[in-house]
Symmetry: C2
Subunit: 223 residues, 2 copies
DNA sequence: GTTATGTTTGACATCATGTCAGATTTAACC
DNA sequence: GGTTAAATCTGACATGATGTCAAACATAAC
């Protein structure tokens, strides 16, 4: 039977009263969950419509085991997105967004997000479509970084304050997605898209035109 | 039997050689197709995952009849998008984009697209996800209008030329989508979104900041 | 080595897409 | 108005995906 897996909710550190001290979670459970998550990431990246069976096969696991760890297909997809979000956040953390002029930091942030998006080209197609709220909540960690940076830039006078900050964040993210799409649809080359994205994002943020020309001039170092 | 419906390809004016002059297409066929299309528009607007059976029911038609007119569910969705695109184009035509300053015309275009998008809030969720090419091709008529306007503005010096024109078009469309999302997700009020979108789009296009402040100042007439 | 935990196998229910064929209705044509 | 082809309806069927359940089996924890 597979009735007792605690992947959904972590109860490890809960000291229940009437619990006759349960046994520890088995190690292969984590191993399976990890394999499934990894396989799902790959399968879905290749074909967003891939079935749970495909994913199970790729993970070297039976289909039912997948359901033992993830309630539904949607839940699995959600978990995959969480993983990718984590990767994105990690790369953004490495970009040291708190240092230097906000405009430069913004370009570094674009680079970071960019790399993540390029690694999972069909990321957008995977989008659950079902609950928009949950989808939005998942992006929160990424948006938070962006918000923080935008706020800093607005305070320093580098960025515009005549539109709401959340909208600015949305606009930046959305432009990033569009540029990513354009590239992996073959409508733009990667360098062209990179430059166009940089210019447009800086413009949206209200950065001084002279500064933009200064920052975006080919392959300058973004320190 | 329902084997001879010519909805897929219009053969009306083809003078076949060995055809023993076939009978005219029956009127109820068009009526059904129309009803199905209309029902699909409504059902899918309410719930993008609505089944073909739901749509058939709403159209007052059997499920099989739907398949008689549209090969697959995807084809039906494609047709729905075509219809909506048509509506959008009509509204854009009414906006007289060739007249007056390009910046003003751009704001009128935003209004027009905006109205269409608000009428079908879940339009984005419907997106087929399957063939990106076809999806892109469908938007072409809308993009054409935008391209034309952008080109005009670039020639007149109102809009920037330091990013590719197609990218500019993509950016404008994508910002419009984002603003629409923000509104129907309740993250922004409609007037706020309208103003923010206007400002951001004009900025992306490189319109003079002074001109922007001038154009966007609440509820001014956009002549 | 015992035992709970996890995985597997196989079966099953459900639902949606898509197809086929026969019976029936309806519009086109004379 | 009657004939006939076109269109729809009914019902059935195949397929494939999502979930669920239960018993047999494997393995890691104690």
């Amino acid at each position: 039977m597979m009735s007792n897996i605690t992947t959904f909710v972590n109860l490890d550190n809960v000291s229940e009263i009437a619990t006759p001290r349960r046994r520890r979670r088995r190690s292969d459970a984590d191993r399976s969950a990890g394999a499934i998550l990894l396989a799902a990431k790959e399968i879905l990246a290749a074909q967003p419509h891939g079935s749970v069976e495909d994913i199970a096969a790729a993970a070297g696991v039976s289909r039912q085991t997948v359901y033992a760890h993830f309630k539904t297909r949607e839940a699995l997809i959600g978990a995959v997105i969480d993983v990718i979000t984590g990767e994105a956040v990690a790369e953004m953390d490495a970009a040291r967004l708190d240092e230097g002029p906000a405009a430069n930091a913004l370009l570094r942030l674009l680079d970071a997000s960019w790399r993540t998006l390029q690694r999972y080209p069909l990321l957008l197609s995977i989008a659950t479509t079902a609950d928009v709220e949950a989808d939005h909540a998942r992006h929160q960690p990424v948006v938070d970084h962006l918000d923080r940076l935008l706020t800093r830039g607005r305070r320093s006078g580098e960025f515009t304050t005549d539109v709401p900050a959340p909208w600015l964040a949305t606009a930046v993210v959305t432009l990033g997605h569009a540029a990513g799409d354009a590239v992996n649809a073959g409508r733009m080359t990667l360098p062209d898209a990179t430059e166009a994205l940089a210019r447009s994002v800086l413009r949206v943020c209200g950065v001084n035109p002279a500064t933009i020309t200064d920052l975006v001039s080919g392959s300058e170092p973004r320190t």
